[in-house]
């Protein structure tokens, strides 16, 4: 009997595997675990592990990534309730964990169901990062970009990017990005034009100068388009119909094309004036994210 015992035990293995397979089939291969956070404050976790704050931050960050990935990939309801507290704990434990701010903000800001759809929480996180790491232009770059992209505030975004550009070692293109963002803000084109003109005049490399020229042309085109749109709207108010073509409202033929010399895309059924797809300026008009 004693000799047979190891063989009998070996027989148990396929039995266990069979039962496990049955359980997987019944309960699903990837079973969402009940997520719980027992400590909600980074300061409390910090107190629990003196001298080991960094490694605790790493562990919380790994948990954040797993939680986000798990919710996104496997959870049907896709609730991201623990995301903000997990990132808060991570960044309180290690206030210099730059990527936790940056990726954490992406996880939070992405619209549901790709992310948590909490753009304001993402911006709060990036603001905390900017306070903790005043020399990090990358966090401010993200903050400016997010403010434009998710909060629809290009002027605020551009202001943050210009602050970032003042940080030593910040790249010069932050200014160009700020200028491009300003171009999107109503009433801010004058400032954007100044910035692009400055970039154009100071740039030594031809591609940078060409890019600045293109943006200046776009600003001109945007002004011209808005003026045309105002004329079209006024025509509609006076005549009760949209003009059949732009020539009906504009005498000067030069105004019938954008700064690149391409005719406007005018929709006579809706009265909308747009930069035409054929124009090299169309890309800048469409590119909301810059």
């Amino acid at each position: 009997m004693r000799r047979r015992t190891p063989w009998l035990l070996l027989l148990l293995l396929p039995l266990i595997a069979g039962v496990q397979r049955e359980l997987d089939a019944r309960l699903g291969r990837y079973r969402a675990t009940e997520e719980a956070l027992f400590v909600w404050s980074g300061t409390a976790v910090r107190r629990m592990a003196p001298g080991l704050e960094n490694v605790m931050a790493d562990l919380y960050w790994l948990r954040t990534v797993q939680y986000f990935g798990g919710q996104r990939a496997f959870d049907r309801d896709k609730r991201f309730d623990l995301l903000e507290p997990l990132i808060e704990i991570t960044t309180t434990l290690d206030p210099r964990f730059e990527l936790a701010y940056r990726y954490g903000a992406i996880f939070l800001a992405e619209p549901w169901p790709q992310g948590a759809g909490q753009a304001e929480a993402a911006l709060r996180l990036l603001e905390k990062g900017a306070r903790e790491m005043p020399q990090s232009w990358r966090i401010r770059w993200d903050a400016g970009y997010f403010r434009h992209l998710f909060m629809d505030d290009p002027a605020g975004g551009a202001r943050i990017l210009l602050e970032a550009a003042e940080i030593p070692e910040a790249p010069y293109w932050l200014r160009t990005l700020a200028a491009a963002m300003k171009s999107k803000a109503p009433g801010e084109r004058g400032f954007a034009r100044q910035l692009w003109q400055q970039i154009h005049d100071e740039a030594e490399a031809a591609p940078i100068r060409r890019n600045a020229r293109l943006h200046l042309d776009y600003l001109d085109a945007a002004d011209r388009r808005d003026a045309l749109q105002a004329l079209v709207d006024r025509f509609h108010e006076a005549q009760g119909r949209w003009p059949r073509s732009l020539a009906e409202v504009v005498r000067d033929r030069a105004l019938l094309t954008d700064a690149a010399g391409v005719a406007w895309d005018y929709d006579a059924t809706t009265g909308r004036v747009r930069i035409a797809r054929l124009s090299p300026l169309w890309r800048l008009d469409r590119w909301k994210a810059l």
Partner: protein
Amino acid sequence: MDAGRLSRIAAVAANTHREAVRERVLYNLVFFAIVMILSGLLLGQLSIRQDEKIIKDIGLAAMDVFGTLIGVFLGVSLMSKEIERRSLYPLLAKPLSREEFLAGKFLGLSFTLFVNVSVMAAGLYATLLATGRGADPALLKAVLPIYQGLVLVVAIAVLFSTVTSSALAAVGTVCVVVAGRYSDVVRNMRDVVPDAPTWLIEGLYYAMPNFRNFDFKNRVVYGDPVGWNDIGFVTVYWLLYLALTLGAAAAAFRSRDFH
């Protein structure tokens, strides 16, 4: 110090080291520390572009935590064993003073810890090299203070085991080490208890071994400059505290009646 005294201390130290490396628990702890350091390889993969930071954080934390466990275990067990098993008596009957015995024990344990920390540091460097990261020599500026802290843990464990049983010595050592890690909380105690007398807070703060002094992990991992001046001051603090602890241990050991 005469040559005879030195050779007696060296003999006790060598025996202590030999005895320590026979302990199975020591190997288990070192094994787990190495596994933890190597786990940085896997955890780094899950972390989104933070593998180097995580490998370094985990490696240094493993050295710190497992080193502390080894320090408490070795410091308490090897000293208390001699007393509880009465193997100390024939030794003291020989021309070997109690101070020499204590110094030999302490040096043997410190050397054992040095070997362990070296093995763990080699594991950390191997992990970094395996992931294509350079062998950052600045890491040694975190490893050296960790080792100093661990030696202080051993000294405290030796002090406790000269005055009490092994169980109580282990509890006492752990309490002092944990309290020493919370030294900043003690210093800021008035924020929570405004009525607490300043002399009490300051007395506690300066009397306890401040283990936060030996923590350069964060600065080293983030590549902040760590001056040798800072490490020098920490070394002075360490030597002074070692002198105090071992002096107290020697006094207690001298006055202890083993009959």
